[in-house]
Every structure is written in C-alpha cells, then in structure tokens.
Amino acid sequence: MVGIARDSRQQAPSRGKGFLRTLCSQWQMMLMSVPMLLYVLLFNYAPMWGWANAFLDYTNKRNVAKGITPWYGLENFKWLFSRADFIQSIRNTLAMSVINLVFGTISSILLAVLLNEVRRRNFKRTVQTVTYLPHFLSMVIVVSMAQNIFASTGPINQMLISMGAVREPVFFLGEGKYFWWLVGVINVWKEVGWNTIIYISAMTAIDPSLYEAAAIDGAGRFQRILHVTLPGIKSTFVILLIMNIGHLMEAGFEIQYLLGSSLVRDFSTTIDIFVLEYGTEKLNIGVATAAGMFKSVVAIILLVGANFVAKRLGEDTLI
C-alpha cells in the first residue's frame, strides 16, 4: 500500500483523487489483470474459509446428513494427535521428504558439476536432453515403469541375483521397509536432470577469470570445483534449500498413492493420503480438514523460519 501511495503522489498533487484518476486512466490494464485477480481470490483464497470445518463436528453421520455440524472446538485436533495412524503419516511425510531433499540435492549438484566439466557441447546437450525427459512423464507412467523395473522378475532383481548379492528375488514393491527408499530412487531418477538446470545456469554466471586465476595458482580440476564452482552456486543452493524446507511437509502425494498398496500402507501413507482417506472415503470432513490445516500451518512456519535463518546468514531470501 505504501508503494501505491507513493506512485500516485508522483503523478498527481492530491493523493486520494490522484490515485483514483490514475486507476481510471489505467482501465485497460485493469481489464487485463483484474479478472485473474478475482479468479485467484476465488480459487486460492476463498477455500480458506473451508478451514472452519476443522472446528466442526462431523462424527455424527445422521446429523451430517441433515446438514447439522455443531461447533467442536479443538476436538478434531485432539483426536488426530491421539491417532497412531496420523502420527505415522507425519513420520512418513517427513522421512520421504528428507530423503528426497538430501538425495535430490546431492545428486543434482553432482550431475551439474559433471556436466559443467564437459567440454564437448554436443555431448553435453545430449546428456541434458536425455536426462530432462523423465521430468515430463506423468507419475502414472513412471510408476507403471517402476512396476516392471522393481518386479520380482525385473532387471534390478536379475542383476542382484547374477551378482550374487541375493539368493531369492527381493520383494521391493511389497515390503514396507523398502518403500521410502524406492520413492527416493524414483524421484531422483525423474528429477535429477531437470534440477541441474538451475545449478548449471548459476555456474555459467561464474566469472571465467576465477578459473584462470585458480589454474595459475596451481589448482587442479578438483580444487577448482571445490573452490570456484561450488562457492559460485552457494546462493542458489541456499535459496533452493529455503524453498525445499518450506515444502518439507509436501513429500509428494501421487507417487505414494500410486506405488503404495495395502502391504506397505504403514510406510506409504503421507499426510495428504490420510486427508484424502478421511475426507473422501470415511467422510469425516472435520478431521480431514484439521489434518490438512495442520500441514499448511507447519509449512508456513517452516518457510518463515528458514527465511529468517537465511537472512541472518546474510544470504538472499525468498520473502
């Protein structure tokens, strides 16, 4: 609002009138932007009224059918945190998003560094084109492929058996203890190439004279990577880390939903799947909304917190 007031003062002497007059003279821009503003208010902000459901009682099915949902206070939240399956879904969400964050970041930085060292342009382009591709495949397609790859008669098991690592095929898709790692591996396969884009563009911004200076000082290839390339992408890394910490409660939803089965549900149920089950199958809107609201609020706290830490460290911040 401060910005708006300042702008209008520059254009007209009287403040309130000037603002309106400028606004009227900009009716064409309003025509181009206000419909989308209203759209976003309706589809992104209006649903927040739905959070009220988290404080209503949906447990009595007969009342719900009649449209009676009395005030329930914090009972939905209390009930949630007394449930082992909700606590489990928080655990699964955090476990998978930490695995994704750690392995996703390490693998994409590693690949970006390797690509950055390639001198043949055509080869570099080919690797990039091929590794970006899985990003564009839908999760349904990816899971369909994973069902073949990780099947008990699939290539991974074949390889493990021929190497003598295991005697019997490993039941990757049916045992809970493998699930988180399977999700991690699939996510890295899908996104590693795509995630290098941002690091590579940061690397091209590094001043080439830094490499020359390092080479004159006798730095070898690995020392140049360590002392020039990696520091050059530090601020990109921090920004992405903040964004990812803000999304720590989003472990993804599609992959767990599609890859999971009754056999691994103790490890595959994320908060989103919990919400979906309670909201659309068990029809307890109150509990489902409360769980979703908990997730959103924690996400905001994480984002603001990470942003604050980054500011303290003197890095670029997001908000």
Binding site: M32, Y39, S138, L173
Partner: protein, 303 residues
C-alpha cells in the same frame, strides 16, 4: 626431479577425468532410458510369456495383441479425446490470461501492480489444502462430474506468470513508450507489440501447461471417477496400475490364473497404454526443448 613427477601426475589426471566423466554420464543416460525401453519391450511381448518377467530391451515373444486389443477399445479413444481436448483448451486459456496479467505486472506505472503481485505470489506458498478446495469445486461451484472441472480450476499458475513477466521486463521499455506516444492503448500495446515478441517464453509456458494437463489424473479420480465418458488417458492407465499392482503382490498362483486365451495380460496391456500415453510427450519434446531451459532460468529469478 620432483617437478617432472608433478607434471606427469597432472597430465595423467587431465586425461583420465574426461573419460571417467563421459563414462559416468553415458551410464546415467542408459539408466534414464532403460525403464522406457523396457516398457516398450513389454508392450510388444506376448502377454502370457510376459508373466515370466526377465524381459530386457527387446521383446522375447513378439506380439501386437496388446495394441490390437487396446485399439479395439472405445474407452481408449474417448479417453484420448478427453485428454487431448482439455490439454488444448487449458493451454490456450492459460496463455491468454497469464500473458496479459504478466504484462500488466511488468509495468511499473500500474497502480495495482504491488497489490496484485503480492496476492499472486502468496499462492505459491499458502494453500488451503485438499478438502477445502474439493468442497469449493464440487459443493459450492458444482463442477464435479462435468468436463469443466478439468478446465476452470486450472487456469492460473503463479510460477508461469513470473516466467513471462521476467521475460517482458527484459524487453526494452522504449517499445511500450513509443507505441503509447503513437496513441495505442495498453491492450493494443500488449497484443500487437509485446505478445509477438514473447513467443519463445510463451512456448516454454505452453509446454509446462500442456504437459501438466496431459499428465493429470487426480482431478478425474476426485471429481469424475464415476463418469466413464470423462475419464482421461492417464486415469485409464492409473486404473490398470491398480490391477497389476494387485497381481504383482499376489504370488505365482494368481499369475497362473491371469493367463488367458486372448494372449494379453494386464501387464502387457498396462505397458501398451503406458507407451501410448507417453508418445505425445515424446513427439512435442524435441520441438520445445530448446525453449524451456531459458524459461526455467527466467523463472528461477526471485518473484
């Protein structure tokens, strides 16, 4: 003496590293394409034989039966039509509105710029969540079980808007100023001057939107699961996934039970649908590939 050893080492390392690097990257490309080719091989394999597994990059017993049975299925054509039509409509609507919005938010003199930008950017971080959105779309707006549920709720993405806006900001300001002096209104300035210059970035965003729409299945699952005529290709595949998941989990006995005289099995059918729904992406990918890297770099600039 000491010096020569040092030089020797250095030369040695500079030859070895590029070779090792190339081998690692070639291996990575192989790992990337292997699952795709493996699925293609399965889809061209005889169904009963495929139950034995162990198929690599080439079908063991070649058969077109899976494709034949899919191409006789009317539901597949209907689903392909739904997927294709919604993708085209969503892409056009998105580009139409998002482009104009991005233009206005790139103009410093626009008095609502800060306010609208803040409202838009916040949507990237704050989300009402699944249930409130579901209630709005299906209960309040009554869009479930209708084709419009694919179109209306997916018309805006803030990330795409920022990508276009950053691109427009990079264009010379004089373009807009001189057009205004010539008496053109903002709408004309956008459509006649800015829009034609934005083709590269609009192609990028078109790719993002189109791929997102083509790949979506959850909207069908949530709002149109009961309406067979509205199923998308991805949703059809998702349902096949569930059946083969069940058979993969059951042991050998049921694998025998799945054998049928039609020489197709859920596995080969699933793989064939996987291939069919991947092909459109593979077709557009090379054409748009040169654009999206620039697009990503633009979007990475802080909103």
């Amino acid at each position: 003496m000491n010096g020569t050893v040092h030089v020797h080492h250095k030369v040695h390392r500079d030859v070895v590293f590029p070779v090792v690097n190339a081998i690692i990257l070639i291996l990575l490309m192989f790992i990337t394409v292997y699952p795709v080719l493996n699925t293609v091989a399965y889809s061209f394999n005889d169904g009963t034989d495929a139950l034995r597994g162990n198929i690599g990059l080439w079908p063991r017993v070649f058969s077109l039966k899976s494709y034949e049975s899919i191409l006789q299925d009317k539901a597949v054509y209907q689903a392909a039509w739904i997927s294709a039509s919604k993708t085209v409509i969503i892409t056009i609507l998105n580009l139409f509105w998002t482009g104009m919005l991005a233009f206005t938010l790139s103009r410093k003199e626009y008095v609502l710029r800060k306010f609208i930008t803040t409202v838009m950017v916040l949507t990237m971080y704050v989300n009402a969540g699944l249930i409130p959105n579901y209630l709005l779309i299906s209960k309040t707006l009554g869009l479930s079980k209708s084709y419009w549920v694919y179109i209306i709720p997916t018309m805006f993405s803030c990330f795409n808007m920022i990508v276009i806006r950053t691109y427009i900001t990079g264009l010379p300001d004089a373009l807009v100023e001189s057009a205004r002096i010539d008496g053109a209104g903002d709408i004309r300035v956008y459509w006649q001057i800015i829009f034609p210059l934005c083709m590269p970035v609009l192609a990028t965003v078109a790719l993002f939107v189109a791929v997102g729409s083509w790949n979506s299945w959850f909207d069908t699952h949530l709002y149109c699961a009961g309406q067979k005529a509205l199923h998308s290709l991805q949703y059809l595949l998702k349902m096949k996934l569930a059946t083969t998941q069940a058979s993969a989990n059951a042991a050998k006995t049921s694998a025998d039970a799945l054998k049928s005289t039609t020489q197709t099995t859920p596995i080969t059918i699933r793989c064939a649908i996987t291939v069919i729904s991947t092909v459109p992406i593979l077709v557009v990918y090379p054409f748009l590939q040169k654009y999206f890297v620039t697009g990503m770099a633009l979007g990475s600039v802080k909103g």
